[in-house]
């Protein structure tokens, strides 16, 4: 991994995989959408609203996964001072916030017809709302300083403190009484979901994952260019 801490090596590798990631994103999302909307049956209890699951659940997985990546990148930036790790954490944050927003809004649109409420203050929903605010806080903090290094450090510490929220979200449905249903895919005894519904779910999750990688590569490229611009301007100003 240390080899890729070098920005120009990273750029070469990233540019090589970028078109593959973008192409696979389109393919997986197209197949996922087909099975989610046409090729899967309605649920025997929830009818057609179950189709909301195929975006709600993958976006929830991504909300947690991207936060984990952001925290891991922040940790390696704080500990080993990898020059790229800060840029990766900063680039991941808006994507994670986007997935969390999708999760919250689609959950609301699913909750209204099935629970009779757009929103309830229960453990699962509230802890995911806190995750959304952690993302927003990170984005605000990382951009709040004139010296980007100070922003990276402050926001990186916030990202690490916020990691405590991840197990709370995951186990909230087991620890507290909640309206939200417990896990049906990521269980110790294997998925308790019919393959006809599992496949579209996994295809959409794969599509979201590759979307994340594609947009992350683009954003890191932008951050590398921005850092080079800052350095050039500094050296020009010094003469």
């Amino acid at each position: 991994m240390h080899r890729f801490a070098n920005p120009s090596r990273f750029l070469r590798a990233a540019n090589a995989v970028l078109p593959w990631c973008a192409g696979l994103t389109v393919l997986l999302l197209a197949a996922g959408l087909y099975f989610a909307l046409l090729g899967s049956p309605p649920d025997y209890q929830q009818g057609e609203t179950v189709r909301i699951m195929y975006i709600h659940v993958p976006s929830a997985w991504m909300a947690l996964f991207v936060y984990g990546c952001m925290a891991a990148a922040s940790a390696s930036a704080l500990i080993w001072r990898h020059p790229l790790a800060d840029l990766i954490a900063k680039s991941a944050a808006p994507i994670g916030a986007g997935f969390t927003l999708i999760c919250l809004l689609t959950g609301s649109l699913w909750g209204k017809p099935m629970w009779g409420a757009w929103w309830v203050w229960d453990a699962r929903l509230t802890s995911v709302l806190v995750l959304f605010f952690l993302y927003l806080g990170y984005i605000a903090l990382v951009n709040a300083f004139d010296d980007p290094v100070r922003g990276y450090r402050a926001a990186g510490i916030l990202a690490l403190v916020g990691v405590v929220n991840l197990p709370i979200i995951k186990f909230s449905v087991d620890w507290w009484n909640t309206l939200h249903q417990p896990a049906s895919v990521m269980r110790l005894d294997g998925p308790a979901i019919h393959p006809a519904m599992l496949w579209p779910l996994l295809l959409m999750a794969g599509g979201f994952m590759l979307f994340f990688v594609t947009v992350l590569i683009l954003r890191v490229r932008g951050e590398i260019a921005a850092a080079k611009v800052r350095n050039l301007q500094l050296s020009l100003a010094r003469g």
């Binding site: 046409l38 309605p42 057609e48 189709r51 999708i102 947009v215 954003r219 611009v229």
Partner: protein, 61 residues
């Protein structure tokens, strides 16, 4: 036509299902467009700055 209408109605939940898919598409598209816009902007600034530095170096020479 009936089958399309039935598909769009989603068993009476069409409003909720399609709103969810539209919101997801809108958020992902906004992320992609904003990211493309910023990476192009930054790389163009970098290229312009390098160009101007090269011309300063040539003037000095």
């Amino acid at each position: 036509m009936d089958r399309l209408g039935e598909f769009l109605a989603m068993g009476g939940y069409g409003g909720y299902v399609w709103a969810a898919y539209l919101i997801a598409a809108a958020v992902l598209a906004a992320l992609l467009i904003a990211s493309l816009h910023s990476v192009r902007g930054q790389e163009a600034r970098l290229a312009a700055l390098r160009q101007s530095r090269r011309s300063i170096a040539e003037d000095d020479a």
